[in-house]
Symmetry: C4
Subunit: 239 residues, 4 copies
C-alpha cells in the first residue's frame, strides 16, 4: 500500500460521488445500473463507484480508490464496480480523458441492442459529437468468457482506432448488445455527454420513424455546430 | 381460526405494505392496478394487499392474512386482492419463491397484449432474466369462466414446465392479453424484478423498431451476464 | 334568476374544482386544455369549469353554475367552458351519468386524430370499458359551422345509438380529429375513466407496433374482467 | 452607449429571465439548450439570455441588453445567446411579434431532423397554429459557413414569404435539421407556443404511426378552432 494525499483523494471521491448521484437524478440510471470514475494521472489513482450499492445509502467515502491497473489501494474497502476493467483500458488508451461514465440509459441501449451507430441527424447531435456515435462490433465468445470487462474496453478502443476517430471529438460509444460509455475531462462533463448521448439517441430514433430514408447532416453543418462550441474559434458560452 | 405469532405477522404486513407502495412510486402501477404478497412457509401464511384500496389511504394493518390455500385467517378483515388465487398457485408450485408481484405496467402489458415472449436482446435483460421472458398461451373460455384466477396461476406453471424453465432463473412471466407477474425471495426482490421486466420490455420494443430482424443475444453473453450477478461465482455487488 | 340552495352548490363547486385540478396532476391536461362538469338533476343545475382560466389561479368559487340548457344562472360570473354545449347534450341523452370530463390527453388524441376506435386488446381495457372505445364519425362542414359544440355532443350520442352501446358500460368516447370525452356517476369517476382511457390508448398503440395483425380479446375474457368489477356479481374491491 | 430607462429594463429582464426558467420546468429544454428574448421597439432594445449559462445559477440581471441590430448596449456584460442574430432578423421582418423562443424540444426536433412540416391533424393543433407548422429548406453550405445565425433567421422569413404565411397566425417554425423557433406578443405567449408546438409534434407523430395515410383536417374545422380562440369573434376564455 502506498501513501496518498488524503485531501486530494477526498476531493476526488466527492466528485465521483456527486457525478454518480447525478445519473439517477437525470433519469439515466435505474437501480444500480451505472458507474462513474475519475482518474488523477499525477497521483496515479482511479476513483470509482463501489459495485451494486444503492444510491440512497451510498456515501462519498464509499468510493473505491485503485491504482492505474485497477488494483484496490486501501484496506477494508468495498468492491469496486464490476466494470472497472473497462474504465482502466479507456484511461490507458485515451490519455486525454479524465472521467468515464457507464449507464444503461434507455435510448442508447435501444441502439446498442439494435447494433447500430447513432447517425448525426441534427444540430443537437453535432453540438456534442463530431459525427455518428459508433457502435462496437460484437464481442466473440472467447473475449466474453476469458476477460469480459477488459475486452469491452479493448473493443471500444479498436472501434476508435479502426475508424480513425478522436475520443475528444466523439466522447462516447455504444457497446453492441450492451449500452453506452461516455467520457470527458471531468466527471461532470462525462455525465453531460451521457445525457446528450441518450437525448440524441432518442431524437434520432423518432426522426427515423418519421422518415425512413434519412441521411446524416452534411459535413459543413456538422463542422459549424461542433466548432461553434469546441476549439479555438468557439463562440458559444462565456469566456 | 388458528393462533398466530402476532409480532412476525406485523413484520410481514409491513414488508407487504412497503412493497405495494413501491409500485406506484416506481411508475409501475396506476390507480389500484397491482398487488404484492409474501409467503411465510414456516408460519403457514400468505400476506397480501386488500382488493381495490387506494394507495394513499392504505395502512400496513390493512394487509390481509390467509392460509396457504388463500383462506382468510382473521375476522373482520378487508377482502384480499382478487388475484390471490393466482399467488396461491405460484407459491404451491414454485417452492423457492417468497413473494409475488402483479402489475399492469405499460411495456410489459404491451408485449402481453401482443402475445409475444420478450426476447433477451441485451445485457440489461441478461443481468436479471436467464433468457426470454415467456408469454403464456391464451386461457380457454372454460378456464376463464370457471376458475379464472387459479387458472391464471396454472397457465403460468404450465408455461414454465413445458419450456423447462427454472422460476429462480426467470423470475417473471407475462400472461397473454393481461400483464406481468414477477417473484423473488423477498417482496423487495419481486418488486425489483417487476421494474426490470418493464424496463427490458421497453428497451426490447425500441430495439425492434430500429432493427426489424433482430435476434436474441448469444448464449455465451447471456451466461456471462447472468452468472456475473447470480450463483456461486457471482462477482457483482458486495459480499 | 332562480333561488338555489347555496350549501349544495358550494359542495358541487368544490367537487368540480377538485376534479379539474386532478387532470393536470395526472398528466392528462396541459395549459387549460380540459374541463370537468357535474350535474345535479334534482337541483336542475350543471356546474362547470370557467373557460381558459389557468389552473394555478382558479378557485372553487370560480366554477360556473348553469341550468340544464347551459344558461348561466348567476350574475357577474366568468364565462363557462366553451365546450359546455357538448356537456349539456350528454347529460340530456345519457340520463345515468353525473359528470363529464374532456381532455386533450396525448394517447387518446393520437387515436382520435387517426380516426380509429381503440380496440380492447387486454384486461386493463376490459376492467373499465366493455368493448372498444368508439371514435365518432367526422362532423360535416355544416355541423361545424352552425352549432359546433352541440353537434359534438350529438355525434357522440349518434355513435352510441347507432352501435347499440350503453354509456354506463362504455364510459367514454373519442371525437374524430379532436379528443376524448369520458363520464361517470361522479366527477372523480369521470376523471378516473379519463385516466384509464389514455392508458389503454397508450397500451393498444404499443401492442400494435409489436404485432401488426392484432385482434381484440375474445368476448369471454371481456365479460370476465368487466363483470369482475361491475354489476351484481362483482367481486373486485371492498363491499 | 446610450442612456436607457433602467426601470423598464429591469422589468424586461425579469420577463426574459422568468420565461427562460419556464422552459426547463416544462421539459422543453435540457442543459442550456434554449433561449428567450423580448423586444421593446419603443425603447429600441432586445433583451436575451446569456450564452451557455446554467439555469440554476442564472439571475435576472444577467440578461443581456442589445440594440435592434444585436449590438450589446452595456459594458462588462455576459455574451448574449449565440442565436441572437436569428432573433434580430425575426424581429426586423415580423413587426407584430414581441418575443422569440428557441429550444431543442424532443418532438419538434424529431420533425426538424426528418425535414418535414408538421401537419394539422386535429383541433389541439388548430387551436394555436392556423395550418401546418412549416419546416424550412436546408441551409446551403455557403449560408452555414458565412453567417449561420443570421441566415437561419433569413430562411425562416423566406419560408413564411414563399408560402404566404402570416407569422401571427402560425407563431412558429421548425428549422431543417435543427429545431423549433416560436414567437408571440409576450415572452409568456412565445413560451406557450413552444410548449404547444412540441405537444402537437408528439401527437402528430403518434397519429401517423396508427394510420399511415393520414391527411390534414379540413379547412372548416381548422377555421372553427382557430377563430374560436383568435380574432374578433373569439369566444374561448374570459373577456
Amino acid at each position: 500500500m502506498i501513501t496518498l494525499d488524503s485531501k486530494r483523494l477526498t476531493v476526488l471521491k466527492q466528485e465521483v460521488f456527486e457525478a454518480n448521484l447525478a445519473l439517477p437524478k437525470a433519469g439515466l440510471v435505474k437501480l444500480t445500473w451505472g458507474n462513474v470514475s475519475v482518474i488523477d494521472r499525477e497521483l496515479g489513482v482511479i476513483v470509482i463507484k463501489p459495485s451494486g450499492v444503492a444510491y440512497d445509502v451510498m456515501r462519498a467515502e464509499d468510493m473505491v480508490v485503485t491504482d492505474l491497473d485497477g488494483k484496490t489501494l486501501m484496506e477494508d474497502v468495498l468492491a469496486p464496480s464490476s466494470d472497472l476493467a473497462t474504465h482502466v483500458i479507456l484511461y490507458r488508451e485515451f490519455p486525454e480523458i479524465g472521467a468515464v461514465v457507464h449507464t444503461h440509459s434507455k435510448w442508447a441501449v435501444a441502439w446498442a441492442q439494435a447494433k447500430r451507430d447513432i447517425p448525426a441527424y441534427g444540430t443537437t447531435h453535432a453540438d456534442a459529437f463530431y459525427g455518428q456515435v459508433p457502435c462496437t462490433r460484437e464481442l466473440t465468445a472467447t473475449e466474453i468468457t476469458q476477460d469480459y470487462e477488459a475486452e469491452t474496453g479493448n473493443v471500444i478502443v479498436e472501434t476508435f482506432k479502426n475508424r480513425g476517430l478522436d475520443p475528444t471529438a466523439v466522447p462516447g460509444v455504444i457497446v453492441s448488445s450492451h449500452g453506452p460509455f461516455t467520457w470527458g475531462k471531468t466527471a461532470a462533463k462525462a455525465v453531460e455527454h451521457s445525457l446528450i448521448l441518450d437525448e440524441v439517441a432518442d431524437m434520432a430514433f423518432q426522426s427515423e420513424q418519421l422518415e425512413h430514408d434519412l441521411t446524416a447532416i452534411p459535413s459543413y453543418l456538422l463542422d459549424k455546430h461542433y466548432y461553434r462550441k469546441h476549439g479555438a474559434d468557439a463562440y458559444y458560452g462565456q469566456e
